[in-house]
């Protein structure tokens, strides 16, 4: 791995990001980063400086976990970044707090604009600081309809839909 990537990982560790290298063959991305809500913009800025482009922003829903130390609403936002010049893909994931608000990165990556509006349509996650958070794919009258929210019975806990925490490299 060359300098930029090393630099980036070093930065992430320094800043207290939770970054883990992953097995590309198995998961299709190289680095997994868990962000807190405050780190979302910081991360995007650094990624932009280093020449990453935003692949997509998507949401998903798991069982809400109101208990400490990490209370969340059950909604999460996935950001995927990749590079033009080499094969490197980052998945960053942030859990949305109970207020359902997460900072928008649409002023850093203008391409995130539509992705965020779409995520708002499907999950009702509010991207604070977004300049125009109107329904995009859904109709205007369906502001409160969020089709991808699951029924309580179908929800699973975050652990049940994550890779086992043991590093997958050990499967030799």
């Amino acid at each position: 791995m060359d300098n930029i990537i090393k630099n980036f990982k070093g930065f992430l560790i320094d800043q207290g990001f939770d970054a883990v290298e992953t097995d590309y063959e198995q998961r299709g991305y190289h680095l997994e980063v868990v962000l807190t809500v405050t780190q979302v913009r910081e991360f995007a800025k650094k990624a932009y400086e280093l020449g990453f482009y935003l692949v997509f922003v998507a949401g998903f829903q798991v069982l809400a976990d109101p208990e400490t130390p990490s209370p969340h609403s059950g909604l999460a936002v996935v950001y995927q970044y990749a590079r033009h010049d080499r094969q490197y893909r980052i998945k960053a994931c942030a859990l949305v707090p109970d207020s359902l608000e997460i900072p928008s990165i649409s002023d850093i990556y203008q391409g995130a604009d539509w992705h965020e509006r779409e995520t708002r349509d499907f999950y009702g996650i509010v991207f604070s600081g977004h300049h125009n958070l109107k329904p995009l794919l859904m109709a205007d009258m369906d502001v409160d309809v969020h089709p991808l929210l699951k029924e309580e019975a179908k929800l699973k806990s975050l652990d049940a839909v994550s890779w086992p925490s043991e590093a997958p490299e050990s499967t030799e």
Binding site: F56, H115, W163
Partner: protein, 370 residues
């Protein structure tokens, strides 16, 4: 001051679409205009939103297969390819080499078909009626070839987890080779009729310049990105299937105007032909489908697979929960990100230029709306 007041007074809105001839489907663009100058184009999406992602989450993974081709009906096979590869990666299914070769051949044929259709449609946007029918003439040969092996002409659903559903035969190879020969002979027609045409050049050169930085900010991919001079092709940069075994180039443009995007696509057709030729030469013998468990279990955890569709990077992102139904399936479609730069790109240009830019993006609306 006076001038800006005058400008303010002369603003008006124009609805371009959803039934406008050059929005290629049901896309509405609300144009804020001053005379023939576009001040602010705002695309309005969702007219044919079908919530494919929800469908993906509500049925076992093989059931979503036919849906993938419906998103981008012009270039359905790469969509199939991405989805089957995703499930194969997730469930750890091996694919026989012959099947991968067949996938590459058919996907590339489909890509050419898509580019030919785009070429004609773009010229139609610019007001030339004839190239689209020449494009259709060539495309029809591809569809015939693909029909002979996949059984359908547009939404193929041809790939299966662990292989493809039907083997190709000698006749397919023969027909494909004949087609390659034929298409190479037809380059002259397109060059004389379109590429060299002074009116065409004037309509596309220096129009809609996408700078590399802008492409990066909007996450543009595919020929639209390569037109800006960035050599980024998932087939090269993040090789999947058997693409690393082939020798092909990634054509790039100079400055990212409509003409560059056009040239990139036209030159890409030749590269596709090269890939197909090499694949046909090296086509290995063997099975076309590996043994796959009847009930594919998607283990917990997420997984991503990106392929190069005709319009750019197509990413499937899946979260599994141990059952055979995906817990979450996100489809990242290329045109969505490509189109999102229109409000910035289309500021202060003429209406005909907007049509030219829209055409050069090669939009397929069902893909954007999903």
């Amino acid at each position: 001051m006076l001038e800006s007041e005058y400008q303010e007074q002369n603003r008006f809105f124009l609805n371009m679409g959803p039934q406008h001839p050059s929005t290629h489907g049901v896309l509405l663009i609300v144009l804020e205009m001053n005379g023939e100058y576009v001040l602010d184009p705002q695309p309005v999406l969702g007219f044919i939103h079908r919530m494919h992602e929800k469908m993906g989450e509500s049925r076992p993974c093989p059931g979503f297969m036919p849906n993938t081709g419906r998103m981008d009906y012009v270039c359905a096979l790469p969509y199939n390819h991405g989805y089957v590869s995703l499930i194969e990666r997730k469930a750890g299914i091996e694919v026989p080499e012959r099947a991968e070769y067949i996938r590459v051949i058919t996907s590339e044929l489909n890509r050419i078909a898509s580019h030919l259709l785009w070429l004609g449609a773009y010229l139609l946007d610019l007001g030339a009626f004839t190239p689209i029918l020449y494009g259709f003439d060539d495309r029809e040969h591809i569809l015939d070839i693909l029909e002979s092996v996949t059984g359908s002409r547009l939404t193929y659903s041809y790939y299966r987890f662990g292989g493809v559903c039907q083997d190709i035969d000698e006749k397919f190879v023969e027909r494909t080779r004949a087609f390659i020969k034929r298409l190479r002979k037809r380059y002259g027609i397109y060059e004389k009729l379109v590429t060299k045409n002074i009116i065409f050049i004037k309509r596309t050169e220096n129009i809609g310049i996408v700078s590399p930085d802008m492409a990066l900010r909007y996450g543009m991919t595919g020929p639209n990105l390569r037109g800006s001079g960035i050599s980024y092709d998932i087939r090269k940069n993040e090789p999947y299937s058997v693409y690393p075994e082939f020798d092909f180039e990634v054509p790039v443009g100079r400055q990212g105007d409509c003409l560059d995007r056009y040239m990139v696509r036209v030159r890409e057709i030749e590269q596709c032909l090269r890939i197909i030729e090499q694949a046909l030469d090296r086509l290995p013998e063997g099975p076309i489908r590996s043994k796959v468990p009847k009930n594919i279990k998607l283990s917990p955890g997420d997984c991503n697979f990106a392929v190069e569709a005709a319009r750019g990077e197509l990413s499937y992102y899946l979260i599994g929960d141990g059952t055979s139904t995906p817990y979450r399936l996100k489809v990242r479609v290329p045109s969505y990100s490509n189109l999102s730069c229109l409000p910035e790109l289309g500021r202060g240009i003429l209406l005909p230029d907007l049509v030219s830019i829209l055409g050069s993006f090669d939009l397929v609306i069902p893909e954007i709306d999903r």
